[in-house]
């Protein structure tokens, strides 16, 4: 019982971080298999469960629900008590959430390769797994809000707003997007289904990954650099703007479909307006560092989180840009969009998830990382790999878009793309290697027995209020 559900502070966060590292490795291996199949489609002719159609949903679901969410959950279990100046409401329940949530990801792994899918992009998981995910998120909502309710600090820091809001949005966006009241197929009819699907598909990034990643970045960057954010009021304006603006952006995926015109216009206007909350966040974490930029590099975790914010900047310039119909004439249905989603989930969300692991894990364990050198090497592998994926797919997408606008037929365009898919595969090998190093470093950091370091802030507390 004590091994399964320990009451030791930080034990659940530690386990979430370890499972996140393992799911990252599993997820990117499936991604690499899919990338190789883009070059050699008949790689596994006798194994239908290893075909691209099975690998792609597996890759996405394992990375979103396995890698990103578990890292974010681990981060919440540390950050929420820290900013609320209290203890987690129940460490045992948090450990239950670790086992339950990981069982869900294993269930995804055991169903998708065998064709057990609802067949809707990003919402492939079968109904029973959908319900289990909602139950797990409900447990996390209880843990986070229960801890917030016990806080001894009256003011809620912006991280708590984003993390609490992010979990509530995750629950509702997931339930509605997966049409969970329509068991067992989890879908609606006709164009209504597509509107719901893209409401969900886009909000997986915008209202699930984004607020959770931003919530962690708002805590890690100021603390690691010993530099408060520029303006807390601005951060809350960003939070409320995200609520107002993000909800209906998904329909910009359906500009060529018979969707009501008002909804298309609303989705484009909202997509452009998202520049406001994005720059509210970036201003808040970048501007205070103008004379203290070197402090970012002191901690490898903070460096990764900061790199995630730079990817966020690129992603959030691209997003509004290619929501415009004139730009979509070139980019829609091409590899450009795949490049964009890779820098959103791996560049932005992934780097913040890995950075949060590297920053918080040593604090929980009260000892240094196993190897800073290994972490730095992993950082460069991941960075160059992500850049390689982004550039190769972007160029491939622009060639596709240009060729189709010129009236060129698909079978004559495909050979032109092969070299870019080869580059993407090589970049994928770098990402997989980085994930191997991540697992090794996290595992050895947890297993290593060294005398504890002085804990950050363990001596007489300093009054830092202005």
């Amino acid at each position: 019982m004590n091994f399964l559900l320990p009451n030791e502070p930080g034990s659940a966060a530690r386990r979430f971080f370890l499972s996140s590292a393992i799911w990252l490795l599993v997820g990117v291996i499936f991604g690499l298999i899919g990338a190789i199949e883009m070059v050699d489609p008949d790689l596994f002719p006798a194994h239908e469960h290893l075909t691209f159609g099975r690998m792609r949903p597996l890759h996405i679901n394992i990375l979103v629900f396995g890698f990103l969410m578990t890292a974010f959950f681990g981060g919440f279990l540390h950050v929420i008590p820290a900013v609320c100046r209290t203890k987690l409401i129940s460490e045992r329940l948090a450990n239950f959430a670790v086992w339950f949530y990981n069982a869900i990801v294993v269930a995804a792994l055991a169903t998708l390769p065998f064709g057990l899918t609802q067949g809707r992009e990003y919402a492939e998981l079968i109904w029973g797994i959908d319900i289990a995910i909602l139950a797990a998120v409900a447990v996390l909502i209880f843990l986070v809000f229960g801890t917030i309710a016990r806080r001894t600090e009256s003011l809620l820091y912006v991280s708590a707003w984003y993390i609490g809001g992010g979990l509530i949005w995750t629950f509702f966006v997931f339930a509605v997007g997966n049409v969970v009241w329509q068991a067992p197929h989890g879908s609606w009819m006709g164009i209504h289904d597509q509107i719901l699907l893209w409401f969900y598909g886009h909000n997986v990034v915008g209202l699930v990954v984004t607020p959770q990643a931003i919530g962690l970045a708002y805590y890690i960057i100021p603390r690691a650099t010993r530099t408060p954010i520029y303006s807390h009021s601005l951060s809350l304006i960003g939070f409320w703007m995200l609520i107002v603006m993000y909800t209906h952006t998904g329909t910009h995926h359906l500009l060529q479909a018979p969707v009501p015109q008002w909804l298309k216009v609303l989705s484009i206007v909202n997509s452009i307006s998202l520049i406001v909350p994005v720059f509210a966040f970036l201003t808040n974490v970048w501007l205070p560092l103008k004379d203290r930029f070197s402090r970012v590099f002191r901690d490898v975790g903070a460096k990764m989180v900061f790199t995630g914010t730079i990817w966020y900047f690129i992603v959030c310039l691209q997003g509004p840009y290619h929501s415009l119909p004139s730009v979509q004439r070139v980019t829609h249905f091409t590899q450009w969009v795949i490049a964009h989603s890779h820098i959103a989930l791996l560049g932005f969300g992934g780097f913040i998830a890995m950075g949060a692991t590297y920053y918080i894990l040593p604090i929980i364990l009260k000892r240094d990382l196993y190897s800073r050198l290994l972490a730095d090497f992993q950082y460069w592998l991941m960075l160059i790999g992500t850049l390689g994926i982004f550039l190769s797919l972007t160029f491939a997408g622009l060639i596709q878009g240009e060729a189709w606008l010129m009236g060129e037929v698909v079978y004559r365009v495909l050979p032109e793309l092969k070299i870019y898919f080869v580059v993407r595969g090589i970049a994928g090998v770098m990402v997989v290697t980085g994930a191997v190093l991540f697992v090794i470093n996290v595992l050895l950091t947890i297993l290593r027995k060294t005398p504890p370091l002085p804990v950050e802030g363990s001596e007489a507390e300093t009054e830092v209020a202005a």
Binding site: F172, W188, H232, L387, G401
Partner: protein
């Protein structure tokens, strides 16, 4: 059936958002915003706050410029194709 379910979702979201906003005003969450900026630093000792940071790492700075450069290149290339077709 689609519209009623959507309205229930939309309505419950709106009610939750407005309730949260009202609660945050009544519990003075928007007061004392300058102190709120410092909350993530709470618990750090004076030594930890004053410690001398490492010097700037040139390679890391180059990496950030590479990301900006890649994003800008993608943006401009796409713009050229959009404007010429």
């Amino acid at each position: 059936m689609f519209v009623p379910i959507w309205l229930i979702f939309f309505g419950s979201g709106l009610i939750m958002a407005v309730t949260t906003l009202v609660w945050s005003v009544r519990s003075r969450q928007f007061d004392d915003q300058d102190r709120a900026r410092f909350l993530p630093l709470s618990g750090l000792t004076r030594d930890e706050l004053d410690e001398i940071p490492s010097t700037r790492r040139g390679a890391d700075f180059v990496a950030y410029m590479l990301i900006f450069g890649a994003g800008l290149a993608a943006f401009l290339l796409c713009l050229v194709i959009v404007l010429t077709h």
